[in-house]
């Protein structure tokens, strides 16, 4: 489904703030694979995700979805294939617009907007059903502005919006990091439910090792712009936090132990 071949990204090349953030990342995700991504601050996780989403162009390498080379596509063109939830709950929704309007926009992801009326009566019932599945009482608030919702409600709504039109690839960048632990767990459970029910190919960044181990069927660890660890299947199922730390040390070299501890 997703194939990434040896991509490189350097920010601010030729200046003192030059940063080689991705150093030849390659990965292949078969359809339906749910990959959790971990790694210390600045490891390049978000840069990898933004490269896939097209927030900025990569310097070299190739990105393909479903066999289609999208390396040179603009961000909004890739949205046809990709659903996203950001770390910042403000990022994924339009705060000044009603829940209904946000859902209407998401229900047309990847289509050229026309001069037809945006929210139609027949959509409302469908929206209400979808909102009901979130169990947050949002089904009665179609006309509320999204800005009035809590962070957790907004992330749940964003998740719904990102998956309304089935994406070929779902990108989640620490989408529970800004939430309190209880809400984070709720949103995470919802994520698992949606991803498994709809069999979505997913990349999820998290700082929580336990979540990374619990969720998904593959785990990758990034360090310094590269993928250091890549485990899947039964090996992943039986993995513990301790194993992870050990693997990290082995792969990254012993001098990096302090960074490894940062992760736990």
């Amino acid at each position: 489904m997703l194939r990434i071949d040896n991509i490189h990204k350097t920010f601010n090349p030729g200046t003192i703030t030059e940063k080689h953030a991705l150093k030849g990342v390659s990965i292949h995700l078969p359809p339906g694979e749910f990959v959790t991504v971990i790694g210390g601050n600045g490891a390049g996780k978000s840069t990898l995700m933004n490269s896939i989403a097209g927030t900025f162009p990569v310097d070299s390498g190739q990105i393909a979805i479903d066999g289609i080379d999208i390396t040179r596509w603009a961000e909004h063109e890739r949205a046809k294939f990709i659903g996203r939830v950001f770390q910042d709950p403000m990022m994924g929704t339009a705060a000044d617009m009603m829940i209904e309007e946000n859902l209407a926009i998401a229900s047309r992801r990847g289509k050229t907007p026309t001069l037809r009326w945006s929210s139609k009566a027949e959509d409302q019932d469908r929206f209400r059903e979808l909102l009901k599945s979130l169990n947050l009482g949002l089904e009665d608030r179609l006309e509320s502005k999204v800005g009035l919702l809590s962070g957790g409600q907004r992330q749940a709504l964003t998740l719904l919006m990102a998956t309304m039109v089935k994406p070929k690839l779902l990108l989640l960048d620490e989408h529970t990091a800004a939430l309190d632990p209880k809400t984070a767990e709720k949103v995470l459970n919802l994520t698992e439910k949606i991803v498994t029910e709809r069999n979505l190919t997913t990349l999820m960044i998290t700082h929580n090792m336990r979540d990374a181990l619990k969720l998904g069927n593959r785990l990758i660890m990034m360090y310094d712009g590269k993928i250091l660890v890549d485990v899947r299947g039964d090996e992943k199922k039986n993995l513990t936090v301790k194993d992870l730390l050990a693997m990290f040390e082995k792969a990254a070299g012993s001098e990096l132990t302090s960074d490894a501890l940062l992760l736990s």
Binding site: E101, R109, W117
Partner: protein
């Protein structure tokens, strides 16, 4: 009475400018200074065509298209060439000064004997001031309804979302550059119509008539929002129109009270500065009272 009527009429004719400023300042979240050039552009195009013997409605439509083009120029400067929106608007505005002089051939073009929208469609038995009021009302109502319709469509919703959260709308597959250009196009089209109508009402087009229009537009938007609310898009549209009328009433009152007309722009600027800083001041006062 005549003064009251002409004050409200002025408010209506300028309401199209206020709606244009609302579209950029509030909907797109851009302070677009193109209006200072597209307002006299609309006036210049309409006045020139009228003196060339065109009839008013086609002249106003061409003026609108000219305004739209100026909006597209600013839009391309800011989206494709990455010039900050404020500066892009200033560049277009300055360029339009020369363009407007070229269109008119001189700095001031009187419309003395020409038929205007108001003389042409003056109903029998109705005085000129009442006619302007009536026609102004019809035009504003029509334009407001078109805006309400457009911003309720899929495309209009995408423009609104672009101003609200560009990352979100890009993640949903919309090209935000196109939406920004479209918003600037619509805004400056409205502003040019406003200029064309004001010129016909005043009886002349002047190359300097754009000075301060952005501030007048902002004043109308803010006054309208404060007094009449922003609950929904429809509510905001009505508020902005009413805000433009209230602004004209305020101006008429302060002039009646003896303020020299030359001080008007200073007065308006202070008014807008005060209104724009109001939320900040309110927050500060709140903070202080919480601390105390």
């Amino acid at each position: 009475m005549i003064l009251a009527i002409s004050t409200v009429s002025q408010g209506l004719l300028w309401a199209l400018l206020a709606l244009g400023v609302y579209l950029t300042f509030r909907v797109l979240d851009i302070a677009d200074l193109t209006v200072e050039g597209s307002f006299p552009l609309g006036a210049a195009v309409a006045a020139t065509l009228l003196t060339d013997g065109w009839s008013p409605i086609p002249a106003i439509l061409i003026a609108c298209i000219a305004g739209m083009i100026s909006g597209v120029v600013t839009g391309i400067l800011t989206t494709k060439l990455k010039i900050p929106a404020l500066l892009a608007g200033i560049l277009t505005m300055i360029a339009l000064y020369s363009v407007n002089l070229r269109i008119m051939g001189k700095a001031n073009l009187p419309l003395l004997k020409q038929e205007t929208l108001f003389t042409m469609y003056q109903p029998e038995g109705l005085s000129m001031p009442v006619t302007v009021l009536l026609i102004g009302f019809i035009v504003v109502l029509f334009v407001a309804m078109i805006n309400y319709w457009f911003f309720g469509t899929e495309l209009g919703a995408a423009v609104r979302a672009t101003g609200c959260n560009p990352r979100m709308i890009r993640a949903n597959g919309i090209n935000t550059d196109v939406m920004i250009v479209l918003g600037l196009l619509l805004s400056n089209g409205l502003v040019a119509i406003s200029g064309a109508l004001v010129a016909q009402n005043n009886g002349f087009a002047d190359v300097g008539m754009g000075v301060g229009t952005i501030v007048i537009g902002l004043a109308s938007v803010i006054i309208g929002e404060v007094l009449f609310g922003t609950r929904s898009f429809k509510n905001s549209l009505i508020s902005v129109i009413l805000g433009s009328i209230v602004y004209r009433i305020v101006i008429a009152v302060v002039l009646q009270m003896g303020m020299p007309p030359n001080d008007l722009k200073l007065f308006t600027a202070i008014l807008v500065a005060a209104a724009l800083s109001l939320p900040l001041l309110q927050a500060k006062i709140k903070k202080r009272s919480v601390q105390a």
